[in-house]
Amino acid sequence: MSSTHPHITPLKVYFLVFATLIAGTWLTYFVAYKDFGWLNTPVAMAIAIVKAGVVVLYFMHVKWQSRLTMMFAAGGFIWLFTLFAFTLQDYFTRSWMPLYQ
């Protein structure tokens, strides 16, 4: 991508992403009234992650950015995962320790 020829995303792509986001919102609403037991939250989060993914890749143009920018973008979510992993391995295992009961 050179400065004289900026990347222009075809309109079709934007409307497809938009349709995906609207469909995803509808699907989130639809499955919220179903009961999948322990899978309820994973299903809702899976849909949200797909929605966030298309926003990052297409609306935020990460698909057409440099590798370095891609690494920065991915880094945010890797550190977020780390934050959750370390917090939850503490909270979820506290009841295993008789000391704190």
Binding site: T4, P6, Y14, T28, Y29, A32, A52, V55, Y91
Partner: protein
């Protein structure tokens, strides 16, 4: 701004492409800090929801799903108009940049307006955490933690949107001055990244705040107070 030439190239960059690359990287570095900032709130959410699942279903059912869904849609449309504004800037069409950005700004205000209606409703129904908190049939009060996080998360999100609205005005002013060219429209591109990020936060907030109590264990808004 004497160190910026007529094409908008600052003196410390080799060319516009390098300048754009640096801005994009810097913007993403900022967005990573934003992800971690909201991540802390989401982390608190996960911990307390795991501790008090029934209280969270009860509290969540006090929210208006329809208003939440409407706002989700409004924000998605605003993300589309923002993306189209950036696309028009890449083609050097400043009039359309101003138009689409104005639409984005309007949709942002619709979102905030709906949020005001929701906050007013929570206030009137004593769902604000504190000494006046009151939820029929509920003992224990862990529902207050849900509402504390509800106001913290949606409040910080709304605050980001208010900042975004200010940025939209800046884009409109620059577009009206014909500042954007196919070679240099990094300004609107970076503000677009910010707006889409705010949209992504809401994509997660909507199911996590509005929909968790709808799976049938606490159907409707009937509060069972199961502690």
């Amino acid at each position: 701004m004497s160190s910026v030439d007529a094409t908008g190239l600052a003196h410390h960059f080799e060319d516009l492409e390098q300048q754009r690359e640096a801005a994009t990287l810097g913007m993403w570095a900022f967005l990573v800090t934003e992800i971690m900032f909201f991540g802390g709130l989401f982390g608190a959410y996960v911990v307390y929801r795991t501790m008090y699942p029934q209280a969270w279903d009860n509290a969540s059912n006090q929210l208006d799903v329809l208003l939440g869904a409407v706002n989700t849609t409004v924000l998605i449309v605003s993300s589309l108009t923002m993306a189209l504004a950036v696309r028009c800037a890449a083609k050097g069409n400043n009039r359309q940049v101003a138009g689409f950005t104005f639409l984005t700004l309007l949709l942002g205000f619709v979102f905030l307006g709906v949020k005001v209606i929701e906050y007013k409703h929570k206030w009137d129904h004593h769902l604000m955490p504190g000494p006046n908190f009151q939820l029929d049939g509920v003992v224990g009060g862990h529902e207050q933690i849900f509402f504390a996080l509800y106001f913290a998360m949606t409040g910080m999100h709304a605050f980001h949107m208010i900042i975004g609205a200010g940025l939209m005005l800046w884009v409109i002013l620059k577009a009206l001055r014909n500042d954007y060219t196919p070679q240099n429209h990094t300004h609107v591109e970076m503000i677009g990244l910010y707006w889409h990020f705010v949209d992504i936060v809401w994509i997660f907030l909507f199911p996590l705040l509005y929909l968790l109590g709808k799976h049938g264990h606490a159907i409707g808004a009937v509060v069972t107070g199961g502690h």
